[in-house]
Amino acid sequence: MAEITAVAGRAWVYSHNIGRNGAAGMGFSQPVSIAAAKDGVLYVTNRATEQNPGGIRVTKFTVDQEYIGEFGRQGLAYGDNEPSTFTWISGVALDSAGDVYVADEWQCRVAIFDADGNPKGGFGVKGEGEGELSGPAGMAFDADDNLWIVNSFNSRIQKFTKDGQYISGFGSKGDAEGQFEMPDGIDIDGSGDLFIADWGNNRVQKFTPGGTHLRTFAHQVNGQDALNHPTDVCVDGDGDIYVADWMNDRVVIYDPEGLPITYLEGDAVEVSKWGQMGLDANPDMVKARRRVPDMVEQQRKFVKPAAITFDRENRRLLVCDTARNRVQVYEKDDEYMDPQINL
């Protein structure tokens, strides 16, 4: 059991987890993307299931486990075509004004909401050409408030103005350097360079904003260390890179040179605030938990963590623990020192 994951010069200290299994309100339904506002407000997109489409939504809450609200809803079953309705809700990103941009991988468009969840329209034309959307997955705003969108189906990375005007793009389908196989998450570092989770090629690639390939993150020291369908990537202010190593149920941390330095496997040793509220109303669940000999060891682990973001302002790593319907929160400590061993 970790809780503190330390390497030379820094540590990731597990803080707490947020969420519970829930198709509405204080809970998540297969959260697949997360974005952090500066004031500790978080937005999560819930993919949910076709069988329970009411769970498709954006949840707004704080890192302190305060539930604020939810917006957006499932669209296909209602037969409407409003941008605020979703079939396959995917990436979420915030512009400098705090507006919330939400992608739909199936409908191939981006919905825009204000910070309170009021619809402000959207954009997106389905297609394979320049400026068209084909399975939009991960999204990230750059320092100029332009929106980068990962097209997962045709393996293109495209830049748009925040009102949806196409600016530029690069990428094609394949496994050569600079190509992609159903890419997913994206993040942008302080220099404006792009990091793309190249899902089908089991790697992460780094590019200049102009699309020049800089580096590939996919260490293959041995089979166990290889990435397995990474879904998301983020970069902190120090240049450390975090990869949601989805099928391996872990987060891999790389240093700025691209060398793997450690892993996180999940540390949810406690029950979240929302989770505890559910348990308080169900004493049988509490009893059932007490019978489990290795309860904490089972409970803490990530299961298919699909999304990850780093709140640079507050130096927090936020991991969407997708199959466990929660967010695990870590704080990065650059001054961490191990206590003396003979305490």
Binding site: Q51, Q276, R291
Partner: protein, 466 residues
């Protein structure tokens, strides 16, 4: 160009040992040769990885741990059936699901059902003794048949009874005392207390052997006496000739030709006693290797000659039709609807009606289920923009199919080289002739004629047979 008879035989093999194959796939398989294809089916090459699980879970994350939601569990399995590159492995999972029928109606936990199905994929073509041992430790089965309630001082006979009655020897081959003694041997085989569904969803169930709850007393089972544990019971029971016959008859019923329902097996002779004897010999001589029985069976003349001798199960109707028309090659939206189709036809996969599983053969058919089957095929073939339908239409155009009888023949071949009775053929031919020749200058209209004819073929009695 492959010989039509070779294609028809390969279509037969792939219907039974998988969920069908497209014309293009059949041509490639015929080029490999029949015996080589059987060998690949029973021993899939290492570079094949089965269903596209990563793709499914990326776009349908709710299919990973569906919990009590049977629909997303069914969506998971159906997508595996149509996307797998190890079709016999998947078909064997369905076979064992028939035999070792475990149901979500009691479990309320599709995660564990899918774990059991995965176990069938991994062990289903392997050694039967190992499979039965793993089944005895499978948490879904333990809960399904109450072995978690089978204690040293309070024996529960449910698992012990079904092990003998439904999973190994079949009725009339053991006594009530044997049931009791087998059950005593499995005391203490249970499930570790598990994390409940709140607040983070369900966690895996795990097998636990509790020595303190095991009855270490002497037992007498099938004439042998000893301090038996569960492994010893399995070791004894798999060597019984009745077990070989019971399992091989199940295989024959599932893969070769419809047998009477299982409860009648003690009074009804096998459809082909010689074939069954030969399968039993292979089973015993190979030390209970299911793979070797399958290899022998699929290469045998009795299998090759059994075309259209069994009625398709609903899962076969749905998965093979999806493969034919090319739907859900990618996990598009709608899986949660289409995965319910087998249930509408009488086969809720992951939720059999009882531990006895489904009654098969003609019992698949009633007025409601037949309509559901016909409508599903008609709806599917009418989607002429699907890639499989596009391939069928293009090939028929490329072959210059024009006359009404060529149209009928082309549709029959596209649907698995179906053989019709003279009466059915005449009726379909009459209808085809009423529409005149295919006019390829209006490709949409030609496609509509093809889809209409395929829907009519799908409504025939003959199409209900595999």
């Amino acid at each position: 160009m492959s010989n039509k008879e070779d294609l028809a035989l390969m279509a037969h093999l792939m219907r039974r040992a998988g969920f069908g194959a497209t014309w293009e796939e059949l041509e490639a398989l015929v080029d490999k040769g029949y015996d080589a294809v059987v060998d690949e089916l029973v021993d899939p090459p290492a570079d094949r990885h089965g269903g596209k699980a990563e793709l499914l879970i990326r776009y349908y994350p709710g299919c990973l741990l569906p919990g009590g939601n049977p629909v997303m569990g069914q969506a998971n399995w159906l997508y595996n059936m149509v996307s797998t590159d190890k079709p016999l492995e998947e078909k064997m999972a369905l076979f064992w699901h028939h035999v070792f029928a475990t149901g979500n109606s009691k479990l309320d936990n599709c995660d564990q059902m899918l774990t059991q199905i995965q176990m069938f994929r991994e062990l289903g073509m392997g050694n039967y003794q190992e499979l039965i041992l793993e089944l005895s430790k499978n948490p879904a089965m333990i809960y399904w048949l109450d072995n978690n309630e089978n204690h040293r001082d309070a024996v529960n006979e449910n698992w012990g009874r079904e092990l003998l009655e439904l999973f190994t020897m079949g009725v009339s081959n053991y006594t009530e005392v044997d049931v009791r003694e087998a059950s005593r041997a499995f005391t203490g085989w249970t499930i570790t207390p598990k994390l409940p569904r709140q607040p983070y969803g369900r966690y895996p169930w795990r097998f636990e052997y509790r020595e303190a709850d095991h009855d270490f007393g002497e037992k007498t089972f099938l004439g042998q006496t000893g301090n038996f544990n569960g492994e010893d019971i399995i070791d004894i029971v798999v060597k019984e000739p009745a077990t070989a016959r019971f399992i091989c008859r199940h295989l024959y019923n599932f893969f070769v030709a419809d047998e009477p329902q299982v409860p009648a097996w003690t009074i009804e002779p096998a459809r082909d006693e010689e074939a069954l004897d030969n399968m039993c010999n292979v089973f015993e001589e190979s030390n209970y290797e299911i793979r070797e029985v399958l290899r022998f069976m699929l290469k045998s003349d009795f299998f090759k000659e059994a075309r259209f001798q069994k009625i398709k199960s609903p899962a076969e109707v749905v998965a093979s039709t999806m493969k034919m028309v090319g739907s859900y090659q990618f996990p598009d939206p709608g899986l949660a609807r289409i995965c319910r189709e087998p249930g509408y036809m009488g086969q809720d996969i992951l939720d059999p009606p009882s531990v006895e599983g489904w009654h098969t053969g003609s019992e698949w058919i009633n007025s409601g289920s037949l309509l559901a089957r016909i409508n599903f095929v008609a709806d599917s073939v009418n989607k002429t923009d699907l890639p499989g339908m596009q391939n069928i239409i293009s090939r028929m155009k490329g072959e210059g199919i024009t006359t009404p009888d060529e149209l009928l023949e082309g549709c029959l071949d596209s649907m698995g080289f179906l053989a019709l009775s003279d009466e059915t053929r005449e009726q379909l031919s009459t209808h085809a002739n009423e529409g005149g020749n295919l006019d390829w200058s209006d490709e949409a209209a030609a496609a509509e004629r093809i889809a209409e004819m395929m829907a009519l073929v799908g409504a025939t009695t003959e199409y209900q047979f595999a």
